[in-house]
Amino acid sequence: MLLNWKLWVMLFSGLSAGGIVAAGVFAFLAIIGVFPRLIGKTKTKNHILLYENLIILGGILGNLLDLYEFHLPIGGFLGQALLLTFGVAVGIFVGCLVMSLAETLNALPVIVRRIHLAVGLQYIILAVALGKLAGSLWYFWDGMGKLG
């Protein structure tokens, strides 16, 4: 089996694909500004290396879990608690991520200029947040995810 050259081709292309995907996805994560913002808000700059270690571990383990679909038979209350923690953390992360994206693309400044907005920028941001909350709840409530 080890002499089958095709196998080596597959292994090599898998390795390369992983390297390139890692570069893309994690460069995106680093550049989008979610982590500096979270670190800045909590004033925990001295733990940057620790945070990066956790990002690295998260990336590697998340990928393994996704591809190999390991079973983690925890169950019961502990399982629910873990899932809740994961949900809240991912919610915070995605919330920051989508706003960072909108900010990087200058979505809000452009809108503000287009309609000559003078007051109430904070309400627009609040409306965006509430809209996302409502949309997210509706999406999961009605099982919209299953339609696709």
């Binding site: 890692a22 909590t42 690295i56 990928n63």
Partner: protein, 212 residues
């Protein structure tokens, strides 16, 4: 007769300084160099600001005020500013915050970092349909059905791990080279942006929201 010492003062102020005391002297925020040592010492211990409110705030300051104060000190002084024109004094109350609270915050951010990175790579795999693509590729190259646990997935996982480690340039204590890590670079960029925005906001005191 001893030659008169030059009263040329060179001043360099940092763009942002974190302080914990309420009386701020010039030597806290920057450096002063002058041939006349007495004058240099006087300038260094010049009080440039007194903070009255005991709460955290970032004060945007102007170097012209400092120059005016130095000239009051010695009218013959020639000040040459080599540092920032606008600088920020970031005042924190002296009381250090609780270690337990600090660690709570750190752990919370750790959880967000870990779950966020895991979620990001899973959504990418899902979006790009990586498992299906791998099965297709396997079938094309090997001519038989994939069971989903092939060398492709193994290679991808190893490659991904290597890519992440190379990108972040370190893991735990182990480091590839002495470059700062990506998040350190981004953190610095973010702080510079904050300083720039604070200084620019100070410069224009309009009441309307303006985004030019």
């Amino acid at each position: 007769m001893e030659k008169e010492k030059s009263k040329q003062i060179y001043l360099k102020i940092d763009s942002i300084t974190e302080v914990r005391k309420q009386d701020i002297f010039l030597k806290d925020v920057g450096k002063v160099v002058c041939q006349d040592e007495a004058l240099q010492n006087k300038c260094s211990s010049l009080k440039i600001k007194k903070i009255h409110e005991k709460k955290q705030h970032r004060y945007v300051e102007d170097v012209l005020d400092v120059i005016a104060k130095i000239q009051q000190l010695d009218p013959a002084a020639q000040v040459d500013n080599l540092g920032e024109v606008d600088y920020i004094i970031d005042y924190h109350p002296p009381k250090p915050s609780h270690a337990a609270w600090q660690w709570t915050k750190t752990i919370a951010i750790c959880i967000v970092c870990f779950c966020g990175a895991a979620f990001a790579i899973m959504t990418f795999n899902n979006d790009a349909n990586v498992p299906t693509l791998f099965q297709e590729l396997y079938r094309l190259v090997m001519g038989q059905e994939s069971d989903g646990f092939t060398v492709l997935e193994a290679g991808y996982s190893i490659g991904l791990s290597l890519g992440i480690l190379i990108f972040f340039n370190h893991f735990m204590k182990w480091k590839l080279n002495t470059d700062p890590t990506p998040i350190e670079v981004q953190m610095r960029t973010y702080e510079d942006d904050i300083c720039k925005t604070l200084i620019q906001n100070q410069g224009r005191k309009e009441t309307e929201v303006d985004v030019t």
